[in-house]
């Protein structure tokens, strides 16, 4: 999830963006639902300004898309590109986690 060629790096919104995408992985959610969901999996909470700054970036690069509004609240869902980008990023993180654990075990053993 680095530079996608649109010229705008995610910068300090990289982490909130990842949390949002993880939150949307099991289905569309609107803003408030995303915030409570992110709180529930124990990550650092996202403020409303950060949330929408990250949503706007994700939407702009086509990783998520808005659905029709339901009573002012507008749900978002992952696009195909979003799903694959998320899967790839989580895979990278997973490999990093594996390497990290393996090295710590080796150091202890």
């Amino acid at each position: 999830m680095g530079n996608d060629g649109t010229g705008t790096d995610l910068g300090r919104f990289a982490e909130p963006a990842l949390l949002i995408m993880v939150s949307l992985a099991d289905g569309p959610k609107h803003g408030y639902a995303i915030m409570t969901d992110v709180d529930s999996f124990g990550a650092s909470p996202i403020g409303p300004g950060t949330l929408y700054a990250a949503l706007a970036r994700l939407e702009r690069r086509g990783l998520i898309e808005p659905l029709g509004p339901e009573d002012r609240r507008r749900p978002y869902r992952l696009t195909g590109a979003g799903s694959s980008a998320l899967a790839e990023h989580l895979g990278e993180m997973g490999r990093l986690v594996q390497v990290g654990h393996a090295r710590m075990r080796a150091a202890q053993g």
Binding site: G2, N3, D4, G5, T8, H30, G31, Y32, M35, G47, P48, G49, T50, L51, Y52, A53, L55, A56, R57, R60, R61, G62, L63, E65, P69, D71, R72, R73, R74, T79, G80, A81, A85, E88
Partner: protein
Amino acid sequence: MSAPTPAVSAVLRAYPRSWRERYGAEMQALLADREPGWGDLLDLARGALDARLHRLVATPAVLVAAMPRKEFAVPTPPPRPYGVIASPPIGELSRRNFMRRVLGAGAAILALEFVGGTIAFLWPQFRSGLGAKFPIGTLADIVAKQPSFANGWPYAFGPARVFLVNVPAGKELALGREASIPNPSAGELLALWRKCPHLGCQVPALCDELKRFTCRCHGSTYNILGEKLFEGPADRGMSRFAVSIGDDGVVVVDTAQVTAGLLNRGPDALSFVDAAPYERKCR
């Protein structure tokens, strides 16, 4: 602790218009659900700044809704080893370097102001205009320019705003006698400031009729030594500057040394009484 609603709406108004058209309604819905705290307020403020800096929303929501949506092809970036920071393309300024240069330029301007201010403060102050010393010329020069100076007629010197009065000859003139005294000593010269002590009008030249000064503004009248007479509202005489004659014979008026004119204490207090009645003024 929740933030006051007006503060929240104020911060929402700080977002750019295009942003509010696109996200405003849903953000308000979210804030209605959440009861925002002070931290949220700060976060929104940062978001507003971010939105203004980056212009993430370009098209109004209505047009976006009407446009056919196409899937974006996201090019996958080449894998990058950990710890390597991407640098901008050659010839472009990175944000970090830009910020450094801005900071450097700001510090340089500040330092320049400080140095400039110090130098300006230490710079010697040159005096001109009122407050300076004015060389008027030798007595011979003055008499050459205005022969009547020897007969007691005051010599007006514009740059210093003074009348140079030849006291012994002036007294003779005011008493209606003819005299020619071309060489008075420094102590016999008076430099009368032409600023009327009443409200500051310029005092006009000695009048032919009474040999007195009468201010045209309110009629304050002074004898040839600048002492206040009966007529007019001024409560004291004309102020005087220090006069000296240098070794070269040049008469110098020092406008930094002022002696305020004496208070008007009636006819008995005058140092000189001229020929005209005390209460008369020039016409």
